[in-house]
């Protein structure tokens, strides 16, 4: 893949958008986070490297807006024992590359590397990997049509992943 050369201003806008999305997951604030997605938006965390398909292979997550809405409600439901614990995260995003850009619409595909520390139930767990965002232009900003999260240890025996990374 070749990185599309694009203006500093465009790159800065994309960076700021990715940072904003990450900040909603840091807190976490799923009400605001969901609003960053298009109506047909999806969040996908494959279970193997280079996974091609979310339907005929198992994934750790594959949520469309419907499942995001269920998860948003479940996150604050008083009877969800696994959600009683404090959840805090810190995401660092870097190595941002615009892989494809439609000059006419401004829609683009962006890959980035991330490190995320997740604090949950007295334990801090590091996650690392690559994000692939399909972004659609929305006024001065963007919306997410799909976010793919490739963990470097996606095929290991992992514990609970309590929230979107």
């Amino acid at each position: 893949m070749t990185t599309v050369v694009t203006s500093n201003e465009r790159i800065r806008q994309i960076e700021q958008f990715l940072y904003r999305e990450a900040s909603y997951l840091d807190r976490p604030d799923l009400d605001k986070w969901i609003e960053l997605y298009t109506d047909d938006g999806t969040y996908w965390m494959p279970a193997v490297p280079d996974q091609e398909d979310p339907h005929l292979h198992i994934s750790l997550f594959y949520d469309d807006r419907v499942l995001m809405e269920v998860r948003r409600r479940n996150m604050t439901h008083p009877a969800a024992a696994s959600k009683e614990y404090t959840i805090r995260a810190s995401h660092i995003i870097s190595n941002i590359r615009v892989e494809a850009l439609d000059e006419a619409t401004g829609n683009c595909t962006v890959t980035s590397n991330f490190h995320c520390f997740l604090y949950y139930r007295d334990k801090q767990t590091p996650f690392a990997g690559t994000y692939t965002h399909d972004l659609v232009r929305d006024g001065d900003s963007y919306k997410i049509r799909s976010k793919r999260v490739d963990l470097i240890n996606c095929d290991a025996a992992l514990n609970t992943i309590i929230i979107y990374i």
Binding site: M45, A47, V48, H55, L56, H57, I58, S59, L60, F61, Y62, V66, L67, E69, V70, R71, R73, N74, H77, P78, A79, A80, A81, S82, K83, D155, A156, A157, L158, N159, T160, I161, I162
Partner: protein
């Protein structure tokens, strides 16, 4: 301390078990020797080693073993260690090899485990070392396959696999009969989920029908709450059939019933289960009708179980076509694997639903499994308290029906746990055949 058989027998009583069965590492060590090395343990499905030279590695109890297909198309389960210095011969989850070759001194083995060659053999001349002595080959476990599901045992006296399964084999048969071609194959990969709890806490939850309406209320409420906001003519979604039954009432679960068998096996459901009301895909129905005819098709599709346990290592969902495999690591750590299966001859939509189920219910990121796990690890930690030494299992005690080959009870009976501990006690005290 070291337990006498009498002391072990006293840990399990008709309506209660001692907390040490979960919290004592010495009991865990004894379980690995006396249960996991003595009964049939699930290894994998033959479809995971489709071609000659394909192998699949795992721990059998704590012992590394490898399932492999040899050049005569025979599937073997071998101890994964070199006959020389004990080095593990293959150390990837799966792969394909022409022969086993040790990474240390290059000893080579046939795919059925027979030692083929040792480099620089001249040094062994006249030393008494005999390359053809079977002790230097890879050692074979006794293994058997039931409709492609491969089990192994270290116990030469264990009954044959089908006898050991007893009436619980009906569910394994039903899983395979649900394929128009009568066969299933592992498909769509595996989820491996680390549980910080004793292995028994996981299997004791399978037919625990008193927990779903408590533990899974949040996800059911959340799903129903969202569904309410949708227009009535919204397209049907499998999620809306899969999630809400986890919030079914005590009365619904009571009706499903539980059936227990010798050696610790049991299932809930039969006539009905929380999987019974799934929409039947019309293409699948057509394929089943063509394969079996109307009467036999409905016989197959109306046998609806929820979870079936083949004690201690395998639990299957025949109506969903996924399985979970129990891999104990330590007294307080267990890895649960979720595998999904394709019904041969069925449309892809069936596998897609199976994988949706595995992801929605069993994945590390799901909204169901993590709430179960929270209950298990809180129990694991809570049982460190000596406030009481005993965990009770009285529900419906004395009211289950004893039949010649099975015990049948109401859906909320603790007969599943009592069945498990009956087997546990027999194995741990050496009474089991």
């Amino acid at each position: 301390m070291s337990y006498t058989e009498q002391q072990i027998a006293e840990l399990v009583q008709p309506t209660r078990v001692h907390r040490k069965v979960y919290t004592d590492p010495e009991i865990f060590d004894l379980e690995m020797e006396r249960i996991w090395a003595k009964t049939w343990i699930y290894i994998g499905h033959e479809s995971q080693v489709p071609d000659k030279g394909n192998y699949f590695t795992l721990n059998y109890g704590r012992m590394p073993v490898v399932m492999v297909r040899d050049n005569d198309d025979q599937v073997h389960v071998l101890h994964n260690r070199c006959g020389h210095k004990g080095v593990k011969l293959v150390d990837m989850p799966c792969g394909k090899i022409p022969a086993f070759r040790c990474c240390y001194h290059g000893w080579r083995y046939r795919l059925d485990g027979k030692l083929l060659g040792v480099p620089h053999m001249s040094g062994y001349e006249g030393t008494g070392f005999d390359k053809d002595d079977p002790q230097y080959s890879m050692q074979k476990l006794r293994s058997e396959s039931l409709r492609g599901f491969v089990f192994a045992t270290m116990n030469p006296d264990a009954p044959d696999l089908r006898t050991w399964m007893g009436g619980a084999a009906d569910v394994m048969d039903n899983l395979c009969d649900r394929a128009p071609e009568g066969e299933v194959e592992a498909a769509g990969g595996v989820l491996r989920y680390e549980h910080e709890c004793n292995w028994k806490m996981f299997i004791e939850n399978l037919n625990d029908t008193m927990h779903p309406m408590i533990v899974h209320r949040s996800v059911v409420d959340s799903a129903l709450d969202y569904i309410k906001t949708l227009p009535e003519d919204s397209p049907r979604r499998d999620e809306a059939e899969i999630i809400p039954p986890f919030g079914a009432s005590y009365e619904v679960f009571e009706e499903t019933g539980i059936t227990g068998f010798r050696y610790g096996h049991h299932y809930d459901g039969g006539k009905t289960s929380i999987h019974a009301d799934y929409t039947i895909d019309p293409d699948y129905k057509a394929a089943m009708l063509a394969a079996y005819g109307e009467k036999r098709m409905w016989e197959i599709l109306s046998f609806n179980t929820h979870n079936t346990l083949y004690y201690p290592s395998l639990t299957i969902k025949s109506a969903v076509q996924n399985i979970r495999v129990v891999r104990p690591v330590a007294y307080n750590k267990t890895v649960i694997e979720t595998w999904s299966f394709r019904l041969k001859g069925a449309p892809d939509s069936m596998l897609k639903r199976t994988l949706l189920y595995s992801r929605l219910i069993n994945s590390n990121g799901s909204m169901v499994g993590p709430d179960d796990l929270t209950a298990y690890f809180r129990a694991q930690e809570g049982l460190e308290s000596p406030a009481s030494d005993w965990i009770e299992m009285h529900r419906n005690f004395g009211h289950d029906e004893q039949h010649a080959d099975r015990v049948v009870g109401k859906g909320t009976s603790d007969l599943d746990v009592r069945t498990q501990y009956g087997a546990w006690r027999e194995f741990m005290t050496g009474e089991a055949a």
